[in-house]
């Protein structure tokens, strides 16, 4: 991945407001994620196929938002091209942050994503 690589995040329908904004819950790792937020590596898959791939696994999405690796690095969020459990999988690492730092970081990502707009919509 490069600093320009777009990381594609699936937005659960409940984190997509009725007037089209992406809500902060979309970028908060769940408790079982242990601080690692799953994304797709945009160098390997386009937004629309990423939606298709996600839905094929029986998971809910209202669309895909994008954050660059460089935007993550501005907030000391390492991005890992892990390729697990599928080759296009990547991770944004919040695990070293305190709860307060984590909240600030995912609010930052929410602003980037909204300024960019949805990259694919269901």
């Amino acid at each position: 991945m490069t600093p320009e690589t777009m990381l594609l995040r699936q937005i659960h329908p409940m984190y997509f407001s009725k007037d089209g904004e992406i809500l902060r819950g979309a970028f908060k790792p769940t408790n079982s994620d242990n601080g690692f937020l799953s994304v797709y590596n945009g160098d390997m898959i386009e937004p629309a196929p990423a939606v298709h791939h996600y839905r094929e696994q029986g998971r809910k999405t209202g669309g895909v938002a994008g954050i660059t690796v460089e935007e993550c690095s501005r907030h000391q969020l390492p991005c890992i091209d892990d390729g697990v459990p599928f080759p296009e999988h990547a991770t944004i690492d919040f695990s070293k942050k305190s709860p307060s730092e984590m909240k600030k970081a995912y609010k930052e990502l929410t602003i980037y994503a909204n300024n960019r707009g949805l990259l694919a919509q269901v």
């Binding site: 409940m14 009725k18 819950g25 929410t110």
Partner: protein, 313 residues
């Protein structure tokens, strides 16, 4: 001579089933009066029976239970009519739930009616058949008859289907035995609403089942959501409506997003508290704190802060 519902006392829901007859005043010992008293007692005991999961048919024959269709139809959730039980101070409670149980005792009964509120988009208006269809926020379709006063609104809302302007419809609904709304029997109120309408979003949040977030995510407390709905409607009469979303832990986030700022309050529905945080990239500020949301002052502060967010062009 007959039994009538004479009043629902203010501040409670104590009903008075009154023996209505001029003759009863003049001739209190006439035999018919005893029948009416027995009827009143039987109604109350039948309601009390279903409260205790006992058969109401010990008190009222099954074929007469259908008359509850005309009694208590407009009860809202958590409302109850209290009816005195014979020979004491105890009362029975006619609620939506007990009324539904009474109506559905007979297996022959496939549907029942009660007040309904529907949120969704007008997906069809058939002026030849005088009918319309609503695609509800839950993805099912509900039909109704066009009433003249709502015709233009329905046609306009259908034209706006692609722009996703939702409508709210209040009326009397026909429900199946599982409680699913099948159609609207009549409409008392219909309006086009804001896509961020608070009551509509709260209805969505109430519908979430445990595991809503891809297998995790708790359901949200219904009483807490009622409190939040009332609080938000009272506070945001003239301010940017928050975008509401659930948390994995069963809370609600009220959120406002700008091009370089973000404000949110994460609400604990059980404790009526809110963790707030404000990020402002222009000033480099990141502030956090806690609100006691039973304090009206906290809501005034939230409204004031929300006014910095005018929405996106």
């Amino acid at each position: 001579m007959g039994l009538t519902l004479s009043e629902v006392k203010e501040g409670s829901a104590k009903t008075v089933l009154k023996l209505a007859t001029a003759a009863s005043l003049l001739f209190p010992d006439i035999p018919a009066l005893n029948y009416l008293k027995s009827a009143r007692d039987a109604i109350s005991m039948a309601i009390h029976a279903v409260e205790k999961n006992e058969p109401p048919t010990d008190h009222i024959p099954v074929h007469l239970l259908k008359h509850f269709e005309g009694f208590g139809k407009s009860l809202r959730e958590k409302e109850a009519m209290e009816l005195p039980l014979p020979g004491g101070t105890a009362v029975s409670h006619l609620t939506r739930e007990t009324r539904k149980k009474l109506l559905l005792v007979s297996e022959q009964v496939k549907t029942y009616t009660e007040n309904a509120t529907v949120f969704g988009h007008v997906s069809e208006v058939d002026q030849k058949r005088e009918s319309f269809e609503i695609l509800t926020i839950f993805g099912n379709t509900v039909s109704g008859r066009i009433e003249e006063e709502h015709r233009m609104l329905l046609v306009d809302a259908l034209r706006d289907f692609k722009s996703r302007l939702p409508v709210r419809i209040d009326g009397v609904g026909v429900f199946n035995r599982t409680g699913k709304l099948k159609e609207l029997k009549s409409v008392t109120h219909m309006s086009v609403i804001d896509p961020l309408d608070i009551s509509m979003r709260i209805a969505e949040l109430k519908s979430l089942q445990a595991g809503w977030l891809d297998g995790v995510g708790e359901s949200l407390d219904a009483d807490g959501l009622d409190w939040l709905e009332d609080s938000l409607i009272a506070a945001f009469t003239n301010a940017p409506i928050p975008k509401l979303s659930p948390t994995e832990e069963g809370g609600v986030i009220c959120e406002w997003i700008g091009p370089d700022s973000h404000f949110d309050v994460e609400i604990n529905l059980l404790e009526h508290s809110g963790e707030w945080s404000l990020l402002n990239r222009s000033s480099g500020e990141y502030l956090e704190g806690l609100f006691d949301l039973d304090d009206a002052f906290a809501w005034r502060v939230i409204v004031q802060m929300s006014k910095q967010f005018k929405g996106r062009d």
